[in-house]
Each structure stands twice: as structure tokens, then as C-alpha cells.
């Protein structure tokens, strides 16, 4: 079956691996420069108290000004699963129906469900492995940027494209494409629907769902606000700015009044503008006036737990879609 799958899908697999490879080569080409800057950052002990502040600022500035197009890398990483779903997943079954070759393949000695299971597994193994490797490299690539607080691995730009989650999104999109291919029996329709649904899912995760996931079971601590600090925060706890544990993800902030009740949004707004707004020591002002500031957060140690959770959800969805596809091809011809 390996040979059959290779003969039938080698060109598309090459194309997709070419996309992976092209991005990897770009990151590899720019890696020495950022690695060198990161080495300077670490050598100077940035951003601790004893570090040379001008050197740290210079390194941070050079990384910020580098010609590396982080946005483009981010976009390509998020588009990869959609491309896999559209160009590898959608035609897998749809083309068999469209060209009529299912009447040949599903009447051979190998039962059609077994044929599908083996083919899907083989293709998934190749693209998911490649995606995981690319995700691992992307994580390593972003370390210098995270170190200088320009980025955070909690942020959705990175959260969805690590070695675990990029592989999981790729598997999910592949399964989605295959399912729509079996459902529509038309290659172009399946590609269009897969692109729309997979794209919408990734965008929804990027803008909304990831934040909701990260809010689950968050810890709470009393701290000092940086800025206004109320409502959804969804930000990295930057060292030297936030008092939250280093490396944690801030979910939400709120204030409680002298009576211990949570302030309304309007009251929070008034407090920050007319209360401690001009104070250079908000924490002192709040304590003096018997107000408290709270944040919910996810400690750094939970990062891979949430990565694993998103991965499990996506893999479960992929398996459900694969099961659905099996049911469709068993029934349809």
C-alpha cells in the first residue's frame, strides 16, 4: 500500500513538503544572525539587574529592526494546515469519485475501508511528521524573540504552531479535507469547503478559542496593575513590568473595592483615570485606599499541558472525521 500511495500522491506530497522546506530554508538562512544576537543577550545577562542596560536595549532593538519577516513566517505556518487539507486531503476520495476510478479500486481484493485507513495513515504520517519537525524548528527559531520579550510562546501566533499543535492542526485539516471529499464527491467543491472551514477554524482559534482554552482553571493572585489592567488581558507577563510569575500568561484582571466586591467596568475605569492614574506607585495608592487588584493567570509550567490539550482536541476531531469518512465510503458509490 505504501507503493500505491506513493505512485498516486507523490507529486502533491512533494509540493507540500516543498512548501515546508521553503519556509525551513528561510528560517535556517536567518537563524545564525538571530542566534548571534540571542547569544549576546544571554552573555550580557539581560534583562537582570546586573546587566549592561544599553547593550540589552541595543540587542532588543536590532532584533526588532531585523529584516526577518516574522509576520510572513507566522502566516505561512498557519496556512500550511489549510494547504494540506485542500490539496492533499480534499482530492483523496473526491478524485476517485470524479474520475470513476473508485469502481476499479474498491472492487479489488483490498476492502475499501482498509484501503482508506492505510492510505490516510501513510499520508498523515508523512505530513504530520514534517509539520511537527517544522513546528519544533519554529519554536526554536522564536526563542531569541521570546527572550527579549518581543514575543511569547503563549501568544496564539506561536501557540498554534509548535511541534505539537502544528502537527495536530495539519492532521485535523487533512481529515477535514478527506471528509469533505467523500461528502461532496467533487474535488473543487471539497477544496473550497475545506479551505473555508479549516481557515475559519484556525482564525477562530487564533482570535478567540485559544484565549478561552487558556482561561480554563486559571490561578488567581493579588498584584499590582501595569497600565489600567482590567478586563481580558490575554498577554504575556513581561519581566520587569508585570509582577505575575515570570513566563506566565495573564488571562484577566479586575479590581475589588474596600468591601471586597468586584468593581463594575465603569467603576474600574473611574478608578484608573481618577484614582491611581497619575500615581507612580499604583500599588501603594490602592493599598492606602483599600482597593485590590487581581489577575488570573496560567503559570509557565502549564504551557505544555495546554499544548497537549489543544493537540488532543484536534486529534480527536481528526479521528472523528476519519471515522465519518469511513462510514461514507462504506455506504456510497
Amino acid at each position: 500500500m505504501i507503493r500505491v500511495t506513493w505512485l498516486q500522491h507523490r507529486f502533491m506530497v512533494f509540493g507540500i513538503l516543498g512548501l515546508f522546506g521553503g519556509l525551513a530554508i528561510y528560517m535556517l538562512a536567518t537563524y545564525p544572525a538571530i542566534h548571534s544576537l540571542h547569544a549576546q543577550w544571554v552573555t550580557n545577562g539581560c534583562p537582570t539587574r546586573g546587566a549592561n542596560e544599553s547593550t540589552c536595549m541595543a540587542v532588543q532593538s536590532r532584533l526588532l529592526d531585523s529584516e526577518i519577516n516574522l509576520t510572513a513566517i507566522d502566516i505561512v505556518l498557519h496556512v500550511i494546515p489549510v494547504v494540506v487539507g485542500m490539496f492533499l486531503g480534499a482530492p483523496l476520495i473526491a478524485r476517485e469519485f470524479e474520475s470513476g476510478t473508485y469502481r476499479f479500486t474498491w472492487t479489488q481484493g483490498m476492502p475499501r475501508v482498509l484501503w482508506f485507513a492505510l492510505k490516510f495513515t501513510l499520508l498523515a504520517a508523512v505530513v504530520v511528521t514534517a509539520a511537527c519537525l517544522l513546528g519544533l524548528f519554529a519554536t526554536s527559531y522564536s526563542v531569541p524573540f521570546n527572550a527579549v520579550s518581543l514575543m511569547s510562546h503563549w501568544q496564539t501566533g506561536e501557540f498554534d504552531v509548535t511541534g505539537l499543535t502544528l502537527g495536530a492542526w495539519t492532521l485535523f485539516s487533512l481529515a477535514l479535507g478527506v471528509f469533505f471529499g467523500a461528502l461532496t464527491k467533487r474535488v473543487v467543491s471539497a477544496m473550497a469547503v475545506t479551505g473555508a472551514v479549516a481557515g475559519a477554524a484556525i482564525i477562530a482559534a487564533y482570535w478567540k478559542l485559544d484565549f478561552q482554552l487558556l482561561a480554563l482553571g486559571a490561578k488567581v493572585m493579588k498584584t499590582v496593575p501595569s497600565g489600567s489592567g482590567y478586563g481580558p488581558l490575554n498577554q504575556f507577563a513581561q519581566p520587569g513590568i508585570s509582577k505575575a510569575p515570570a513566563g506566565s500568561w495573564l488571562v484577566k484582571g479586575w479590581y475589588t473595592g474596600p468591601n471586597g466586591n468586584v468593581l463594575t467596568t465603569h467603576a474600574e475605569k473611574m478608578l484608573t483615570i481618577h484614582g491611581f492614574g497619575e500615581s507612580k506607585t499604583p500599588g501603594v495608592w490602592l493599598a492606602q485606599h483599600h482597593y485590590s487588584y487581581w489577575v488570573s493567570y496560567q503559570p509557565s509550567s502549564r504551557f505544555w499541558y495546554f499544548e497537549g490539550t489543544e493537540t488532543v482536541i484536534l486529534v480527536a476531531l481528526a479521528l472523528a472525521l476519519a471515522w465519518g469518512t469511513s462510514a461514507l465510503i462504506r455506504k456510497r458509490a
Binding site: M1, R3, V4, L7, Q8, S99, G100, T101, Y102, R103, F104, T105, W106, T107, Q108, G109, M110, P111, W115, K331, A333
Partner: protein
């Protein structure tokens, strides 16, 4: 052993019944031709037999009780679909490889030898072959599986007369060599007479005829006689079709055994094509044996 059995087999697409109440029991070792107009249900019947579609009612069984489409059936039944769908972007050699990998039993040497005899090169792209060559390739791949039952859906439809002749020649030679049962559907009644010895006629989703051709021909005849004697005649034979001209009638009849038809009637033989056309013109007529006999036989096979 039976090549295949159908027990009250029916297939519905939406509200339309493509096949209904189909009960058949066809012995092995025959070359079975399935004939019917477009949309009659021929392809649906074949697809049910090879398990490509799920029946809406009843069941289909092959090779003495194997459920159609089961792994055991797939191993022993080969199918050549209409238009011989193959992977056009592969070469002939690669198609052989694909087929070999999808089957437990596949005789690569036999496949290559057959194609070599036909002058089809292994390095040719499948998409570059002519319609006849693609059909021959599909047949070679099917025969290389050494099936016990070979099912072909309109194998001659796209072929010119010479290609048809060559195709049927290869098929008949293989049938004689391998001793396999063959089922094929066709529009071309005149050609199937040359190769088939069992006939199934399907019309509007229902089976009208299912019989060995010799037995069928022996049971049918043209009778020519006076129009006024038609009523008396209908008491002794089953009238399939009546052609009237003034006072004379020419009647295609199905006899009920040894009966006296009267001295006013002159008998003549009927060709297979005339017989098939007569049944196709009247979807309600049927030359089947008692349906109870067929169903009870099939139930016996299944148990």
C-alpha cells in the same frame, strides 16, 4: 455451485427504484449476458453483485453464498467497470503494480504476457492508450487476479467493431482456459448471442428473463394464424407479443411445455434479438420461473 444469487434484491436512489424485486439464481460456469435499455438497472444489478453499492432491500450473494462485497468475495470476483476507469496519469507498468498491491492473488507474469500479446507497451501512459487498449488493459488486470467470477459492465460500449471482436476473443479464450463464470451487460444483443449461453433481461428495474439461452429459445416461437383464433390460443400458450395485419396475426409465444396449438397456427423459430426486443417492448411481460422457487433456492444457499 451458483455464480451468483439475488434474493428480492432492490436498490433505491432517493424515491426512484433502480432495481426492484430481483430474485435470481445463476449456476456457475456460464457466460451470462445482461440486456436491457438505458436506465433499466443493469449497472445497478452488477454493482450490487460486486458490493459497490449497498442494496436497499434483499441481498446479493456470489459463488455459493458469499455476501457481495465481503473480503472473501472481493478476493474471488473481478470487475471491469464501464469505460474501464483506470488511473490515467500512471503508466501501464505502474497500473500493474497498483493492482498487484491491492490484491492477495495477482499474476504479474500473466498480465504482462497478455498485454505483450496485444502490443501494449508497459511504459505507455494509461491516458495515452486508445479506448480499446484501455479496455484490454482493464481486462488483463482483472484476469490476472485469476477470479472465479468475472463481472463486466458494458465492456463493448466504447469499442469499434474490430476492438469489440478482439476484446470478446480474449475474454472467451480466457473463459475457456480458466473455467470462470462471466457476467457482462450489453446493449448489443446481436453480439452477445455469439458468446453468451445465459441471458438476463432487465427492464424498468425488474427482471423479465433469466434463463439459459438454449432453454429460452426452445420455449419461444413465432406462431402465424387467424386473428379470430387468438383468444383460444391464449388459453394454451403465453403470448408475449402480437403483430396484427388484416385477418392474420403473428404472435410471439412462450410455450408451457408440450401443448397442442391447433392446426390453424404455423410455427417458426425466433431469433434471440427478436425475442429480447419483444420483451423489452413490454416491461410487464416476464419469462421467469416461479419466484417462490428462486427465493427458496437462494434461502437454501444462504443457510
Amino acid at each position: 455451485m451458483n455464480a451468483f444469487d439475488a434474493s428480492d434484491l432492490g436498490k433505491r436512489y432517493g424515491k426512484r427504484w433502480a432495481l426492484q424485486g430481483c430474485s435470481l439464481s445463476v449456476p456457475a460456469g456460464h457466460v451470462v449476458a445482461i440486456v436491457g435499455p438505458n436506465g433499466a438497472g443493469k449497472t445497478t444489478l452488477l454493482h450490487c453483485l460486486i458490493g459497490l453499492v449497498e442494496a436497499s432491500t434483499g441481498g446479493a450473494f456470489v459463488l455459493d453464498g458469499l455476501s457481495a462485497g465481503s473480503p472473501d468475495a472481493l478476493d474471488r470476483v473481478a470487475f471491469v467497470a464501464q469505460d474501464a476507469p483506470l488511473y490515467k496519469y500512471l503508466s501501464v507498468a505502474q497500473m500493474i503494480e497498483v493492482t498487484r498491491n491491492l490484491n492477495r492473488n495477482f499474476d504479474t507474469t500473466l498480465a504482462r504476457r497478455r498485454l505483450d500479446d496485444l502490443g501494449i507497451r508497459l511504459d505507455q501512459g494509461v491516458g495515452k492508450l486508445s479506448g480499446g487498449q484501455q479496455a484490454q488493459l482493464a481486462l488483463a488486470l482483472a484476469l490476472a487476479r485469476h477470479p472465479e467470477l468475472l463481472v463486466l459492465d458494458e465492456p463493448l460500449a466504447r469499442l469499434d467493431p474490430l476492438a469489440r471482436y478482439e476484446f470478446m476473443g480474449v475474454l472467451m479464450a480466457a473463459t475457456a482456459e480458466e473455467g470462470l463464470s462471466v457476467v457482462f451487460s450489453s446493449h448489443v444483443v446481436s453480439e452477445l448471442e455469439r458468446v453468451a449461453d445465459y441471458l438476463i433481461v432487465i427492464n424498468s428495474g425488474r427482471v423479465q428473463i433469466a434463463s439459459e439461452i438454449d432453454e429460452l429459445m426452445n420455449r419461444h416461437a413465432f406462431l402465424t394464424g387467424p386473428v379470430e383464433d387468438l383468444d383460444r390460443l391464449s388459453g394454451t400458450v403465453d403470448i408475449v407479443q402480437t403483430y396484427r395485419a388484416d385477418r392474420q396475426a403473428r404472435v410471439l409465444v412462450r410455450t408451457r411445455g408440450a401443448t397442442s396449438i391447433g392446426e390453424n397456427w404455423e410455427s417458426s423459430s425466433v431469433s434471440l434479438e427478436e425475442l429480447v426486443l419483444a420483451y423489452l417492448r413490454d416491461p410487464h411481460s416476464s419469462a421467469l420461473r416461479s419466484s417462490n422457487d428462486v427465493v427458496s433456492h437462494v434461502r437454501g444457499v444462504r443457510s
